[in-house]
Amino acid sequence: MLNSSGSSSDTVRQSLSSLMDGRLDEASIDSAFSAWRSDAQARECWHAYHLIGDVLRSDELAVQPARDEAFLAALRAKLAAEPVPLSPGRRQGERAWRQRLVAPAAVAAGFVAVAGALVVLRGAAPQDGGQGALVAGAGAGEMVVVNREVIRDARLDRYLAAHRKVSNTASVQVPGAVVRSVDTVVLETK
């Protein structure tokens, strides 16, 4: 990417110019992103082109780039501490979600807390010898469980119905994941 004088190639700068107008073809996006990562001059170029646009629209936005650089550096540090907000299709995200919500004790008991509602999992080892158990969820009220079958309460039904509607498009964000359906939540035994 660097020519003999040490500056970014024109191709990269042209790509960035097109990208900022939303007019870069998909195939070229990856190399533009690689340039962002690897080439400080590509980052400087992106910043300069946007500063120019801002200043054309308003003199108030003529800011020293050193401030902008410091801003991005500080933000990067904070972003590094954030969990990645996940989108559909990221399988490892779903696994991570299950691991966080399923504590060993709860697994043994066959109950899992899902966003405050308690749901009984199929295939869980029987612990209560078939006795009914009244269990309280965290803030979601109570559900009656008999013989490992959930006698659903209206709240759970509404919750599941609401999330089923958006389950195809909603993203899984850890914590507070969307339950696609009770049946597909599979227990992972250690």
């Binding site: 007019r23 082109y49 003529a62």
Partner: protein, 203 residues
């Protein structure tokens, strides 16, 4: 496909977890967001803190962004809400210095730029530096050939699409793309000496 939203490419990637795309959006909008917050809060450090917080909140909320509105509109709302919340928290804090607050206003402030900057605590050097940047950009625009100047003006100030500009300038879209790029690069070359950063502060 002619995108109505130029940010769509970057937003889609950012939603899939690509932090580079998100960083590019930050660089794009950081100045505007800080200016927006500065209309509500006077303290320069606080403005930056709130701006950082706004971008973090936007990052967390990315999965919920559906593209119903423009990305900047969505980001703008997050920033305003973050600033308002910070102001509420500040007002509750007995240790807060009164000068850190300014009245919340949704309208464009009529206060002169110089007055605001002085109360912001921005140094005279910073004020001069940004004046110099503004002047350099304006001078560079004036020095461009008519075609390049028109292309970048129509794109950046009028916000026209490549297609609209091609129609107005009676030239192919490829020529529009090239003229806009060459205009940007010509101005950037004039700016670069001014933008040279101090040692140790790299992009």
């Amino acid at each position: 496909m002619i995108p109505e939203q130029p940010d769509e490419l970057l937003v889609e990637r950012a939603k899939r977890g690509d932090t580079r795309a998100f960083e590019m959006l930050v660089v794009k909008y950081q100045r505007r967001i800080e200016r927006l917050i500065a209309r509500m809060v006077r303290d320069v450090d606080l403005v930056q803190d709130i701006a950082q917080e706004s971008f973090i909140r936007a990052y967390r909320a990315l999965p919920q962004f559906r593209g119903d509105s423009a990305f900047y509109t969505w980001l703008y709302r997050i920033a305003v809400n973050t600033a308002k919340k910070a102001l509420v928290d500040l007002k509750r804090d007995p240790l807060v210095v009164e000068s850190a607050l300014s009245s919340v206003s949704d309208d464009d402030d009529e206060t002169s730029r110089v007055e605001r900057e002085l109360t912001d605590g921005a140094t005279p050097e910073a004020v001069l530096a940004s004046k110099e940047i503004a002047e350099t950009v304006n001078a560079a625009i004036a020095a461009l050939s008519e075609d390049l100047r028109q292309a970048i003006t129509l794109r950046e100030i009028e916000g026209l699409s490549y297609e609209e500009i091609a129609e107005m300038m009676n030239c192919p879209i490829g020529t529009v793309r090239s003229r806009i790029f060459r205009a940007r690069e010509a101005i950037a070359q004039r700016l670069r000496p001014l933008l040279d950063t101090r040692e140790g502060e790299r992009w």
